[in-house]
Amino acid sequence: MTPTPSSAKLSEIRAGVLRRPGLVGSQLRQELSVAYDAWLQALLTARDGVALVAVGGLGRREPAPYSDLDLVLLHEGKVNGLASIADAIWYPIWDSGMSLDHSVRTPDQAVAVAKEDLKALFGLLDIRHVAGDAGLTGRVRGSVLDVWRATATKRLDEMKSISRERWSIAGDAAFLLEPNLKESRGGLRDAQALHALAAAQLVDYPVWVREAYPVLLDVRGELHRITGRADDVLRQQEHDSVAAALDLADSDHDGEQARDTLLRRVNEAARSVAHALDLAWRRVETLGSTRSPRRWRFGSSRPGPERVGLAKDVVSQDGEVMLARDADPWSDPGLVLRVARAAAEHDLPIAPFALERLAAESAPLPTPWPRAALDDLLAALGAGQPAIAVLESLDQAGLLAALMPEWDAVRCRAQHNPVHRFTVDRHLLETAAAAAEHDGDVARRDLLIMGALLHDIGKGFPSPDHSVAGAEQAEVIARRMGYAGDDLAMIVGLVRHHLLLPNTATRRDLDDPMTIRIVRDSVGDSAELLDLLHVLAIADASATGPAAWSDWKAGLIADLVGRARAAVGGSRPPTIPPLDDERRQLAERGELAVIVGADEVVVAAPDDTGTLYRTTGVLALHALDIRAASIRTHAGMAVNRFVVEPRFGTMPDPALIRSDLARALKGELGLADKLAEKERTYSRRPAGAAHRRPSVHWFDDATDATVVEFRGEDEIGLLSRITAALERAGLDVSSARVSSLAGVVVDAFYVTDGQGKPIPPEARPALEAELRSAWPH
């Protein structure tokens, strides 16, 4: 006797549906839910006072082939034989070998659970009647929706913390090579959360999510069918077969393989969902704060929301970075990067409206970029992890590709490598953030960060060797950003050779002199490039995935670098540009002079103890950030050139600086107190953030002097504190080169002791302790 449908096992019915040819995507989901419903309806014979309802995926008529059946048996209470009614439903399902998530509740209990447990509430929002008393189902649906509409704004924090916990485990589906289609950020659960917010009538369900959501469902359906399990992680080994099942083909047009198309679609769908959820949360937050009666209780005298200036035309308000009222992106192309820098340095999101305005109204940066624009980009990247979210938001608004058109080639680009975790674009951002962690151990952290940002850019361009293609692209990009000369060569070298150390260390005989020679030749005998490549290799590996780095590899690379470094020779002390005629004449005039240019201040003053400290202090008081400085003495005069950037727009009046300086040099200004006050007001870092330890390096290669170099995080007034510390330690500064790059200063001073002699090594530790006190603790 052939079994009738109702006597067949549910798993057999499912297998039958899955075998039907050509049934994919929404049709498959539709057919599965019709088949499940029909089979379940036969199980509930009692009609009064009980109802079998589907929640979750089946409730939404979109079950994935192997996911749990979420069922609730609703009852009026005091139903005779409830236990046997329930048994008659659950047992056949268990006997079919299906996984089941079940509960038995009265309407009141269901509503109580919804009030208690947000996850249960979201499930119940999708409640759908399957069999029995439809009135019961309708009552629960109405009450749960009422509960949700009344409390949704208050439960936003709970919703966020549940989501964030889930993301911390499952990661970000927009950038993972093996995303979890359901749990990752931007996955199905996030789309369902959006749906819930829409059901509460707080936000609209965006049209682009209507398109993205089925993409994720389709992929999940085929993934389940192929693996035969309820596994929602799209593993690389399944990419080919899922792509084939969805009829994706290799593209002749741009060489993209079907598997890449699959992953790109998933990444892009997740990006849309995550972005929509971000917007929705912020929208609900604004609603919550304007609806709150407390806001109005204290009358109309309440001032407007607090806006804090972060940079020229950039402010923060309500925990977001916004444009100042009279900001004009069109006449101020550097504004995008100032906004990015402020957001990254303060670890704040950029307000959606600000992004929209910047995207719609920004003029392109001139080529090459102004120095300030590059500084802002480096400082943003130099902020480390917070920079990732900021640059992602620029990318989402199309602003990153406007700055760097080559970025489009690596956007959402898959990598066929089991070691990699992220798409190429995200890997580049992660590497730059990891590189930013290294501030004491390299002389040019700015070059390291730029090299890290660009090291795999070649993966977006057809070439057998992405290092070679990347070096070509990096040269174009870096030139556009304003790099030239040695710095440009260093960035190109970093990209070209970023695999040199890991490949050589693990594949060549380190005892063979040829191995060391290959490394030496590749880095052009530059100890600086070698050091940067070493740190880049570490940052690259840590941004790749847990399998890419181990003590084993670290040991081999350190061994190689140690040997190559001995062959290359030590690093050279920083060079100081010679005195130009203009400054020579200034010095020979022998009087106090202040010349203020477009972005520089030249100060000539008698070279006494304290001159340098007081000069830099006065510049800090006038809100001038010192980007670079060249310090020289000639004919008993200090003639110092400072490249400065006004923190809030325009350069101050030269007469004002001159008079303050004259007073400060006579000790009449009360400089120390004023500086301390300024530091409290304008500290760039968010309150409570930890300081990284600065490092102090000594070089003996100079004649007649010792070079001491500081590397550490930049702070307002820092240079004046360092120079004060140098003077407290009794050191004479004959010349100096100061630079602030990517939020980190590298300040080199040629110093002698009081008798004009170099500093002997044994005197250094005590001096170092004094110098370190220049940084706040």
């Binding site: 151990d441 693990t506 060549r508 005989d509 084993w552 040991g555 081999l556 061994d559 670098v561």
Partner: protein, 112 residues
């Protein structure tokens, strides 16, 4: 069946792999390992800081083969991994009781 385990210098991995492929070996397992033999660890000076390398990085290669193939495979590994300097590593052979291929359930000789 026998398992051949070889501990060799990391940069010799490609040579050993190539030599085994020539002899028809279709799969092997590689592990990054650290240890010391007669070579011992050594002291390095790196960026001014002296540090002791207690263990030397090596790779470990494991391959399971039929009894009759053992001799020529061991010879091939030794040949490919030798540099003549200290620290070239070791190769040893252990008996294997049984073997199952996970995907198909094939056993013993069929699963090699």
């Amino acid at each position: 069946m026998k398992q051949i385990t070889a501990i060799v210098k990391p940069f010799k991995l490609d040579d050993v792999k190539a030599a085994l492929e020539v002899l028809g070996i279709q799969g092997l397992t590689v592990t990054e390992v650290q240890g010391f033999g007669r070579q011992r660890g050594h002291t390095e000076v790196y960026r001014g800081a002296e540090y002791t390398v207690d263990f030397v990085p090596k790779v470990r290669i494991d391959v399971v083969v039929a009894d009759g193939d053992v001799e020529k495979l061991v010879a091939a590994i030794v040949e490919a991994a030798r540099t003549g300097k200290i620290g070239d590593g070791k190769v040893w052979v252990t008996p294997i009781e049984s073997l199952v291929r996970v995907r198909t359930g094939e056993r013993d000789a069929d699963a090699i």
